[in-house]
């Protein structure tokens, strides 16, 4: 929801980044205010996922230029775990499996770590169990997932629900969801989208990185951005997403070239 004068949560100026010496991001400008939902779309290899990972601080990517402020702080002065404690959340496209570590234990550690970072009380295992079960209901998740190892043997849809569960626990100021819709059947998509919508508040914001428009039928964005070649080449409203769905991405790129 767009409100004039809402607080700026994320401000990205001329961000460039490389991986293994290859430039991927080539000057991104991007601003998110509290209460907003942004969708970043674009063809494969346009740099969408890289942008999400750079924001979260993935060590494989090297930032080569530009500035990013998050909630008034210089993002690049914060280690990845500090970014998370400061309220930035990345929902992974391919959540990592961690054999041997019980999901319940992992969820409680992440919850308590982030709560602790905010100066709030931590929950003991019993209190946490009640709390997490409530959140799981929202995502129609079987409590049996608490006893399994983190993401191990989970189906694609189960992994994505587990990501949204973490988001629900951590209540981030800014959630960046990287292709959360990929690999989901229509029921799972509805549940996951419902989970995201339930967490929307006037003081937080969501960035959806997605290849397809269908997620945006469930989570309605305020802005739609098209990324190509490591830049945002067009910004519009939700109607742009529908147009991309019917016409593809090529016309946007062509329009960009003409303008240049």
């Amino acid at each position: 929801m767009i409100e004039a004068g809402a607080k700026v949560l994320l401000e990205v100026k001329q961000l460039s980044a490389t991986v293994g010496g290859v430039p991927i991001l080539k000057g991104i400008d991007f601003t998110v205010r509290a209460g907003e939902v942004h969708a970043i779309m674009g063809p494969n290899g346009s740099g969408k996922s890289t942008f999400a990972k750079v924001l979260a601080g993935h060590p494989s990517y090297l930032v080569t230029g530009g500035e990013v402020s998050f909630d008034g702080r210089n993002l690049f002065e914060l280690a990845p775990e500090e970014r998370a404690r400061a309220g930035l959340f990345l929902g992974f496209q391919y959540p990592v499996e961690v054999p041997g570590v019980a999901n319940s234990q992992f969820l409680r550690l992440t919850y308590n770590t982030v709560q602790g970072g905010r100066g709030k009380d931590e929950l003991d295992p019993l209190e946490f169990d009640d709390f997490v079960r409530e959140k799981m209901k929202l995502l129609e998740m079987d409590p049996a997932f608490l006893d399994r190892s983190v993401n191990e043997g989970f189906s694609g849809g189960e992994k994505k629900r587990n990501e949204i569960l973490q988001m629900a626990l951590l209540e981030p100021k800014l959630a960046v969801l990287d292709e959360t819709d990929s690999g989901l059947d229509i029921d799972a998509l509805r549940v996951v989208a419902g989970g995201v919508n339930a967490l929307r508040q006037p003081d937080n914001a969501v960035v959806l990185v997605t290849h397809y428009q269908r997620l945006l039928n469930y989570i309605v964005p305020d802005y739609v951005h098209v990324m190509e070649g490591g830049r945002i080449i067009k910004t519009g409203t939700r109607e742009l997403a529908a147009e991309l769905e019917s016409r593809g991405y090529d016309w946007v790129a062509a329009e960009g070239r003409e303008a240049a």
Binding site: A56, G57, H58, P59, S60, A79, P80, E81, R83, A84, R85, F89, L90, F92, P95, V96, V98, P99, G100, V101, A102, Q105, F106, L109, T110, T113, V114, G117, S149, Q166, L170
Partner: protein, 478 residues
């Protein structure tokens, strides 16, 4: 490998100090005279000297094994001193007579030698270089008929028992290092649980190598008579030297009908530095004989130290319905090499064995599991379940699994599962993106990985082992 991971796994060794204590050390080298001298110093009966000499003569005909997946320069067995004892070597009547320097050493190591300071219910036998320096709680154990103390004392006080069982599980000529040990062993622990007695406390031996040129060759013998049960713990450390020291121990366990022996080890010998200089060669033969029906022998080991570990705690399941278990965590870092596993030899009917092995490799180390499951022709209904998991930390380490399965009875059921996983940047980044720092992430992943083994350890040991793995793998994050 990233700098972050590198820092995580580079932790200094905590027990690398040398105690400045006068010791009685025989000159380096080995021949029959040295063996006679050791035997004389220990005032041994003739049969034991004969046992040693026979083993020595056999050893001379044997060759060092070359099949393990480990590499090291040829050992000069004449450069080792085969006996070293802290002076003065006289009979100690009480703890107050122990050299205060020695007491301080063990305090530093966190080994409780004063009985009043001992964690409730753990009796400790302490072996310093070659000899046992003290045993706590002896009297209390004697009240229920349990014999627990140094091997040397047992030879003097219970020669018939020692003679009856010594070499019955690991014969003197069993293998190269067992033969060497049989020739020159100097001390160790002896433990005898008589018929029907449940040992009222955990028994524990703490081994320390202090002298630079000495080898440590201890001999442990545990016998549980019919219906007896005991839980035994073993811990080891050594100072930091830039030369390699040889540790070639033999452990024999005998379980009679319905007896139960649980043997746990936390091994933290000096592992050498990050360039592989120094460290202990840990070439150990451990074997248990489930001699009686329904007997059970369970090995649990946490191997974190030594430059090279060569060790296969095994069970011979002779009695019908007997049970053998092996739970192992082996951690290697830097240039450490481990070739470790177990042998489960099923001879009796309906014998069962379980193997759970967890190998963790970091740095440039190499970690191999080697295990044999053998089902004999008469082992009707035998069952084995093996699970061998490897975890790699970083890009420059190696893990191997060498399972050998020999089945001669078609009613047997043998299962083997193996996995390999890796702590990589992606896992650490996943944790970091949830607010969890690298140290805590590694610790959580490792603890999850070793959980099935650690639950087998007695409580205090599990805590110590967890801390030890932490020390070996965590550190200041750059």
């Amino acid at each position: 490998m990233s700098a972050v991971l590198q820092n995580l796994i580079d932790q200094p060794y905590q027990h690398g100090f040398v105690t400045d204590i006068e010791s009685d050390t025989v000159p380096r080298g080995l021949d029959e005279d040295v063996i006679r001298m050791i035997s004389r110093k220990k005032n041994e009966p003739d049969w034991l000297l004969e046992f040693r000499l026979e083993a020595y003569r056999h050893w001379l005909t044997m060759a060092e094994p070359t099949w393990p997946n480990v590499h090291y320069p040829k050992i000069d067995f004449q450069a080792i001193s085969y006996y070293s004892a802290p002076k003065p070597k006289k009979k100690l009547a009480s703890m107050d007579e122990v050299d205060p320097e020695l007491l301080r050493t063990f305090e530093k190591l966190g080994v409780p030698m004063h009985e009043q300071a001992v964690l409730a219910g753990v009796a400790v036998d302490v072996i310093f270089d070659s000899v046992s320096v003290t045993t706590t709680y002896k009297k209390k154990l004697a009240d229920v008929g349990v014999i627990f103390g140094s091997f040397s004392e047992a030879v003097q006080e219970h020669p018939d028992l020692v003679r009856k069982y010594l070499g019955t599980v690991v014969p003197a000529g069993d293998n190269f290092y067992a033969a060497l040990n049989s020739a020159v062993f100097t001390d160790g622990s002896f433990c005898f649980i008589p018929k029907g007695v449940k040992c009222p406390m955990e028994l524990s031996t703490y081994f320390r190598i202090n002298t630079q040129q000495s080898g440590q060759f201890e001999r442990t013998l545990i016998v549980a008579e019919e219906g007896a049960s005991v839980s035994y713990l073993e811990g080891c450390t050594a100072p930091q030297f830039d030369t390699n020291q040889l540790h070639a121990a033999v452990v024999e366990l005998v379980a009679l009908d319905n007896a139960d022996i649980k043997y746990s080890t936390v091994q933290n010998w000096y592992a050498g530095d990050e360039n592989g200089v120094g460290g202990i060669y840990n070439f150990v033969t451990k074997r248990g004989l489930c001699k009686g029906v329904n007997s059970r022998i369970s090995w649990t080991q946490v191997e974190t130290g030594s430059a090279i570990t060569w060790k296969y705690p095994s069970c011979v399941l002779l009695g019908d319905n007997s049970i053998g278990e092996f739970y192992s965590v082996a951690l290697t870092n830097h240039l450490q090499q481990a070739d470790t596993g177990t042998k489960m030899i099923h001879i009796g009917k309906n014998t069962r064995s379980t193997i759970v092995s967890k190998g963790i490799s970091a740095g440039r180390s190499n970690n191999s599991y080697r295990g044999l499951v053998k089902i004999g022709a008469k082992a009707e209904g035998a069952r084995n379940y093996s699970q061998c998991d490897s975890m790699l930390i970083g890009e420059t380490c190696g893990a191997n699994t060498f399972p050998y399965i020999q089945v001669q009875n078609n009613t047997a059921k043998v299962e083997h599962e193996a996995t390999t996983s890796k702590i990589g940047e992606d896992q650490l980044f996943y944790f970091a993106s949830r607010g969890i720092g690298n140290e805590e992430a590694v610790s959580m992943i490792i603890n999850g990985f070793v959980k099935d083994v650690f639950t087998q350890l007695p409580m205090e040991f599990a805590v110590e082992a967890g801390r030890l793995l932490g020390l070996k793998l965590e550190g200041s994050v750059g």
